[in-house]
């Protein structure tokens, strides 16, 4: 699929801008702070109803305006769909699909699909395990929306169970018995939701892994990457089905129970797991160079792109400031990958950083105005 048209009103530093985009590579060039990322962010917002940079909507609306509007025309399998989003901080947002108001804003999700790589994604490699868990879970939800419910259930059970452990723990420290009568029940729910989430992650990882390895190999011109799922449940068979994983979780919970009561937190479950990334024999986190980390984070995103493409529609690839951090050969290899996409929207502060092999439309972004070159 590709975005044929993008128009923003009172979005970030834009009063009003409209771009008619071609499939293939589209390059947005401009000095720092001119509004390149803001445009990429707008496209990402239409796909995910969220920004990759901020949690709330307020910063998305131009300072001084009450609401922002983003309109896109998306071409999917030869058919054009128009999506319009009105963002009003503090109020419910509104959506229109082909000019008709959508019953729920969420109905827009899934019409436009994007895979975005931005400098923030370096945290996928360098950041806490939570970053990598979130990466897996978000991709999981994108492929199978029902995991949004599984994730929410798991988070809720975890909160309830932790609250119980904490109260019982402090009661015990104060010399009382502590009420653990309902702990078994919470264990059951935790194991059930946890097993569903774990099974989903393992299945996803099995599907994603070959794409990550291949993408890194292409970018780095050789260089082995390895992705392993370090579960907090010991001896987890990656091929196990949900029921087996659930039983393993329950067993493990029983084993650590005393420790859990003492510490007042749940010590086993997908919230404690880690997606280990390695380059060669060494862990990426703490060892990999800046360029290597960047390449690996990029490989994770390119792999998401490949996996989603293999599911059906090719998403739109959004590459924000990606070239500047790579050496010349890696730039050339990335250019090859990017130009093969149905549409890749690329930003750069310095035009020379984008290999000349990246043909296609070029826009100049300056002070919230866009001009086709």
């Amino acid at each position: 699929m590709y975005v044929r048209q993008l128009s923003v009103t009172d979005w970030r530093n834009y009063h009003q801008a409209q771009l008619t985009l071609d499939p293939g590579a589209v390059v947005l060039i401009g000095a720092n702070g001119q509004g390149k990322t803001n445009l990429v962010e707008a496209i990402g917002y239409v796909a995910t109803l969220g920004s990759h940079r901020v949690a709330g909507d307020a910063p998305l609306v131009r300072a001084g305006a009450d609401r922002a509007v983003v309109r896109t025309a998306v071409v999917r399998a030869g058919r054009e769909l128009q999506i319009e989003l009105e963002v009003t901080p503090g109020k419910a947002n509104r959506a229109r699909v082909n000019r008709a108001p959508a019953t729920r804003v969420r109905d827009v999700l899934g019409i436009l699909r994007t895979v975005l790589f931005a400098p923030e994604d370096l945290a996928l490699v360098k950041g806490d395990p939570g970053e990598r868990r979130r990466f897996l879970d978000e991709l999981l939800v994108l492929r199978h929306p029902r995991y949004a419910g599984v994730r929410a259930d798991y988070d809720r059970v975890l909160k309830q169970r932790n609250a119980l452990l904490k109260t019982a723990g402090s009661a015990r420290r104060a010399g009382a018995a502590g009420d653990l009568r309902t702990l078994d029940v919470w264990d059951g729910h935790l194991a059930e939701a946890g097993a569903a989430l774990l099974a989903g992650r393992l299945e996803l990882l099995a599907a994603l892994r070959p794409y990550v390895v291949a993408a890194y190999d292409v970018l780095a011109g050789g260089g082995q990457t390895e992705l392993t799922y370090d579960a907090s449940v010991s001896e987890l068979d990656p091929e196990a089905d949900r029921a087996t994983i659930g039983e393993a979780l329950r067993r493990e919970l029983e084993m650590v129970r005393a420790q859990e009561v003492e510490r007042g937190i749940t010590l086993v479950g997908p919230h404690r797991d880690e997606l280990q990334l390695r380059i060669g024999a060494l862990p990426a986190r703490g060892y990999a160079s800046h360029g290597e980390s960047w390449s690996l984070a990029l490989a994770l995103k390119l792999a998401s792109y490949d996996l989603l493409s293999s599911d059906g529609d090719e998403p739109v690839l959004l590459l924000d400031d990606v070239f500047a951090e790579l050496d010349i050969t890696r730039r050339a290899r990335l250019a090859e990958r990017a130009t093969a996409a149905e549409q890749a929207i690329i930003t750069a502060a310095v035009e020379a950083d984008v290999p000349s092999s990246v043909q296609g439309q070029r826009y100049e972004v300056a002070a919230g105005e866009v001009r086709q070159l």
């Binding site: 019953t103 729920r104 969420r106 199978h144 929306p145 029902r146 949004a148 419910g149 929410a152 259930d153 809720r156 059970v157 909160k159 309830q160 169970r161 609250a163 119980l164 109260t167 009420d179 009568r181 309902t182 078994d184 029940v185 919470w186 059951g188 729910h189």
Partner: protein, 199 residues
Amino acid sequence: MYEGPVQDVIDELGRLPGVGPKGAQRIAFFLLAADSTDVGRLIAALQRVKDDVAFCKTCGNVAEGEQCRICRDPRRGDDVLCVVEEPKDIVAIERTNEFRGRYHVLGGAISPIEGIGPDQLRVRELMVRLQDATVTELILATNPNLEGEATATYLARLVKPMGLNVTRLASGLPVGGDLDYADEVTLGRAFEGRRRVDS
């Protein structure tokens, strides 16, 4: 901040469930502008509900007097007991006209986050009611959310030694709507909970 008495009303209203600061302000100014006989009726109704209405000694439903209307009704069966979280759930089930047994109101659901365990609910009263073997079926009609499910599981395990028939209300897609109107989470769950069609 407003003049003393106005702010007092806003503060009191703001404590009510489902009323935010904006709503409290709107209601306060509505009352301020309203006819004093209308406001008098509201005051009297509030006073009456506190003076005359209490909770049923047997089931925990709201009642005028010792026992509620349902517990007093001789035409209802004593063998099936339906456990709900709140009195309002009784109203909902009564509207269906499908249930002729009795109720037991727990007064909430187990939720450690809010400090609610079995002792904060009317669980002991339930166990007392089940003692004499009159009840043969226990319907667990707690809410279909995590806390309601956890409460149902807890109760089911607790009464297991009593050998009752324990049932749980089915949940799934809303009836009467279109499939495409269900959100992806509900629909996804319904898929997981699909059942065989007898033919």
